[in-house]
Amino acid sequence: MNIAVELPGLALKNPIMPASGCFGFGREYSKFYDLHVLGAVIMKAATLQARFGNPTPRVAETSAGMLNAIGLQNPGVEKIIKTEVPFLASFSVPVIANIAGSTIEEYRQVAKAFEQTNQVAALELNISCPNVKEGGIQFGTHPQMAQKVTEAVKEATNLPVYVKLSPNVSDIVEMAKAVEKAGADGLSMINTLTGMQIHLASRKPVIANRTGGLSGPAIKPIAIRMIYEVKQHVSIPIIGMGGVMQAEDVLEFLLAGASAVAVGTANFQNPYVCKEIIEQLPYTLKQYGFNSVKEAIGKGIV
């Protein structure tokens, strides 16, 4: 069974990759299994300078999901390039760098920095992080802003650029079209939905940042709907994510129009989940009558 798939700049031996922020830089999960089995790895978001992130608590559990407001904690792009990228690259698995910034200039600089190493295969533009004060989500909820930052990054680098869309919008198709027009090579969707949980005893939000991003199976129907809608209006490929727990979910994303699938929150519950999904996927595809991943992409669109 051929489960390989080809995306701009990414020759994936299988369509499964850990989602940004849910796998760190791979070190911890590399103790559970050989990361070489993965289709790719998306690194935790990088900013120009090191960031400490938000106060704790940073996570909360919800029904079939979780909230997080890590706040883009990371050691800064230089350190990531020096210590993390080479580690990941040693597994000979395509590395995708997730980049974030407060200004367009910051995005440009982080992108440029990653281009200088030849160990990063593609960029994922995080214009949708709901957990930081400036930048992040503003870029992700206004089509013109999204277009501008995409153009700037495309201009700054030759690496393929996947723009990660926020689901917190009235019109996801409009956003997708805007970044496609701006030259995006692919889309990544969806990021988290902004949510909140209130702690009854202390009478305040559980998450210190008040709001956090909702992820996990709770949001899968929203992800599937958005991918299904966007797929029909763009011609660039989509990396789908949001609530994937098992191989059946991967097939659902493929049917909706995703060409590859990222797994986030599920890693926390089952550190082996990406490996297990990769092993199961051929059987699941076969069970539902598919002979390859490619064959399934977009097949659920009626």
Partner: protein, 251 residues
């Protein structure tokens, strides 16, 4: 590191407090006091961190003690003997034993911070360290393991409501009833840890911290604790949960 542990005994040992003995070969051989299991509870997205309270290496068992606090621990408490629990672990660093056998050591535990101190006390006394323990509970009904701690050394129990022992916090215990101490270990809620750190500011000490966790293994940055006010940090699940009192900034 991810394993299914069979429950071989389950017991209510205090109000809302359950002790479970779990069977497992590898974990029982390698655990250091202060490490925790990251426990998957059916129907829950996130795992629950629960300290290892005791280990019996020869019988291949580990013991956990948890308080029923919310939905996850409530569900866990319904698991029966014979059922299996899916755990990651042992996670975290654990308490360094510092085997200078002469040291007079103070253990200070509050509520659900008490369990890891039991295995610690056992290990310390095994190596000949003299242990004094202060345990704080909400009320008389919440007290557990008092006798077990007494068997290992001088033990003082206080309760928030004064229904047993002195009324007050662990840090209210007067100096007169305590030996001179060379080192302390503490585990409990943040306000207690702050008070402990302050009271024994001149004594080298170890604090075991608690925080809401995502991955429990160091990947998600949910559990970062500042090491200063200039952006330094450690991850509780991986670098901790035990830190020297100086290296963490408790705000």
């Amino acid at each position: 590191m991810q394993q299914e542990l069979r429950i071989i005994s389950k017991q209510k040992i205090a109000r809302d407090t359950v002790e479970m003995v779990l069977e497992n070969k590898s974990i029982s051989q390698v655990t250091v006091p202060g490490q925790f299991l990251h426990i998957h509870v059916q129907g829950h997205m996130l795992r629950r961190p629960i300290s290892i309270a005791n280990v019996d290496a020869s019988n291949y068992t580990v013991t956990i003690i948890f308080k029923i606090l919310g939905e996850g621990t409530r569900k866990l408490s319904t698991y029966d003997v014979g059922n299996k629990i899916d755990v990651l672990g042992p996670n975290g660093n654990g308490f360094p034993l510092d085997n200078t056998t002469q040291a007079s050591t103070l253990l200070v535990g509050g509520g659900i911070g008490v369990p890891p101190l039991y295995y610690l006390a056992k290990k310390l006394t095994e190596q000949g360290t003299v242990v004094t323990t202060i345990l704080g509970f909400q009320s008389k009904e919440h007290i557990f393991y008092e006798e077990k701690f007494r068997e290992l050394g001088n033990t003082i129990v206080v309760t928030n409501d004064g229904s047993y022992g002195e009324k007050g916090f662990v840090t209210n215990v007067p100096d007169e009833v305590l030996p001179t101490i060379d080192r302390y270990y503490s585990c409990g809620p943040l306000p207690m840890l702050k008070a402990v750190k302050e009271r024994w500011i001149t004594v080298p000490g170890y604090l075991s911290l608690e925080e809401r966790m995502g991955c429990g293994i160091g990947a998600c940055f949910a559990c970062a604790v500042p090491t200063d006010d200039r952006g330094g940090y450690k991850k509780i699940c991986q670098d901790g949960p035990v830190f020297t009192a100086e290296e963490v900034y408790l705000g």
